[in-house]
């Protein structure tokens, strides 16, 4: 190809997709700035590593929470806005159990079950952590999953099931109502105060010197990594290797055909709530363990990022949710290299919008669960 051809191809690209060019230039600019920053020592390698690690952790939480949302979307055909409050519900139920197991005999049961509402008990004082009180954490983690399953099934039975034949919009609006009801029920019982739940100073970690500074990986980071990756692999195995998983994919693909094939669709719906609910509850619990604080708004605030991740990945795709979660987590964490941390969320949404402009169907094509 001659130079003239290259030139005209280039011109056609610029004319046809000026926006792509701007974004491309922006990416190049950031990359150059990043590399020169590293070379001149303005950006510390250890800081970048810490940010990447932090983004990865955040991404795992978002991804894990996103799987449930994506599953219910692909099989029930509606975006469940109450999902964020399922996350919160899982977190509070699990942490109540953790407090109870860790503090039994040292504080009264009521205060423990209310997760120290009103400053009656402090998680730090109870010395809660994965290494100090492993049984309390494990017990809480499992209970968070179980409770959220029960919650998801109950709400499906009471509300969504009778609306199954109605459009996605009616269901979506109903789910917004449920979101508010759940959130303020939680606030009513546990108060609206944000509080620390772990013994942050007492969590062991591994600190390593990397070129120009220290990078720390705490035991809670490691716990999150193991739990999240383990569950993601489990979901992958379930979807690809089991009869139920194949039926779930079949139903996401074509519900009418699933019915005439003899797949018991109501049972698959129930299984979806069970699996999605368990993952969501565990995600909520792990989120709180990792950041060390709990608040009644945690899930609702996380939901925006979860939606961003799920849409970015291709709504309905479980693998898209995981990948989208990592992209969102890494973006919001890395963005502080250039912008104030208050805008980290905005950066994540900006990237989501960009991806959707260039790939409207998301990274993975949605609605397939696989």
């Amino acid at each position: 190809m001659g130079i003239a051809d290259t030139y005209s191809d280039g011109r056609r690209f610029v004319v046809a997709r000026p926006f792509a060019l701007i974004v491309g230039l922006l990416v190049v600019l950031l990359a150059v700035d990043f590399v020169s920053g590293l070379a001149t020592g303005r950006i510390a390698v250890s800081d970048v590593t810490t940010l990447v690690w932090d983004g990865l952790m955040q991404g795992l939480v978002v991804g894990l929470a996103g799987i449930g949302l994506s599953m219910t979307y692909s099989i029930l055909n509606f975006a469940n806005f109450a999902h964020g409050d399922y996350i919160t519900g899982g977190a509070f139920s699990g942490w109540a159990v953790t407090y109870l197991l860790a503090g039994l005999g040292r504080a009264d049961v009521g205060s423990l079950l209310l997760i120290g509402a009103g400053g009656s008990v402090f998680g730090g004082a109870l010395g809660i952590g994965i290494t100090a009180t492993p049984i309390a954490v494990l017990g809480g983690l499992i209970f968070a999953g179980l409770f959220t399953v029960a919650l998801a099934l109950l709400i499906d039975r009471l509300v969504y099931r009778s609306m199954r034949d109605q459009g996605g919009i009616s269901l979506l609006i109903a789910s917004v109502g449920i979101a508010f009801a759940l959130r303020y029920l939680i606030a009513f019982v546990f108060t609206t105060e944000n509080r620390g739940v772990t013994d942050a100073g007492g969590v062991p970690g591994i600190q390593g010197y990397l070129i120009d500074g220290y990078v720390t990986v705490s035991a809670h980071d490691a716990t999150l990594l193991v739990v999240a990756v383990g569950l993601m692999l489990g979901v992958h195995f379930l979807l690809q290797r089991t009869k139920l998983g194949t039926a779930m994919r079949a139903m996401a693909d074509n519900e009418d055909l699933a019915r005439v094939t003899g797949i018991p669709t109501e049972r698959v719906v129930r299984a979806t709530w069970v699996i999605g609910g368990a993952l969501t509850g565990v995600a909520g619990y792990m989120f709180v363990l990792w950041k060390g604080t709990i608040g009644f708004n945690d899930g609702w605030l996380l939901l925006l990022l979860v939606f961003a991740a799920v849409i970015l990945g291709g709504i309905g795709s479980v693998y898209g949710a995981i990948l989208g979660g990592l992209v969102i987590g890494l973006t919001s964490s890395m963005s502080v290299l250039w912008i104030p941390s208050d805008f980290a969320r905005a950066a994540a949404f900006f990237v989501m919008i960009l991806v959707l402009l260039f790939r409207p169907e998301g990274l993975f094509e949605g609605r397939s669960t696989a």
């Binding site: 039926a247 055909l257 094939t261």
Partner: protein, 238 residues
Amino acid sequence: MDAAGSLLAVRDLDAGYGDLRILYDVYLDVADGEYVTIVGPNGAGKSTVMKSVFGLTTYMGGSITFAGTDITGRSPEDIIHEGIGYVPQNDNVFTSLSVAENLAMGAYILEDVPKAALREVYERFPILDERRDQKAGTMSGGQRQMLAMGRALMLEPDLLLLDEPSAGLAPDLVDEMFDKIDEINEAGTAILMVEQNATEALRRCDRGYVFVQGRNRFVDSGQALLDDEEVRREFLGG
């Protein structure tokens, strides 16, 4: 033919969708191992008859008996257990699933994938055997149609309902499709088929029903219908 001697007996059936009535006093019989086709102009309710047998329409009156069991008003999930398989006209494969997974879903109601039935499907449709791991969505129209039939055959039904199996197929594939249906029928499965390719369908079947505006119009052997002056003029294009 009397109801007692037939595998499927539809009597005085009224059915439709919601408030919309499509079928009026429809009767239809399929004997054990028989090959029956339904032909007629657009809007005659051909597919509706078939969907009604499989429990996919709104029941409004009459009865449907299969192998001596009253299946009137029962759900598809239920009817599939009785030994009826259904291949819809459109969207009849799970596009994001592999060929093997599609076939496995066909046998969902059984504990395990039935090995003998699976082997038989692969022998009948060698193309499916070659492409076990291919996603159904990437296959051609003809291959998808074979996969859809294969999936319905996984439960070794006594009666197979086929809704326009030749629709959308390239002309050279239509013959192959009809040959496959002949083979399935010769192996003992009764066939009830709706077909727009009326001449070819009547040539191949044992008996044919002609429906017009939701009502029975003619019933006879396929050959007799082909020879009938009126049927030829009105429904087969001369």
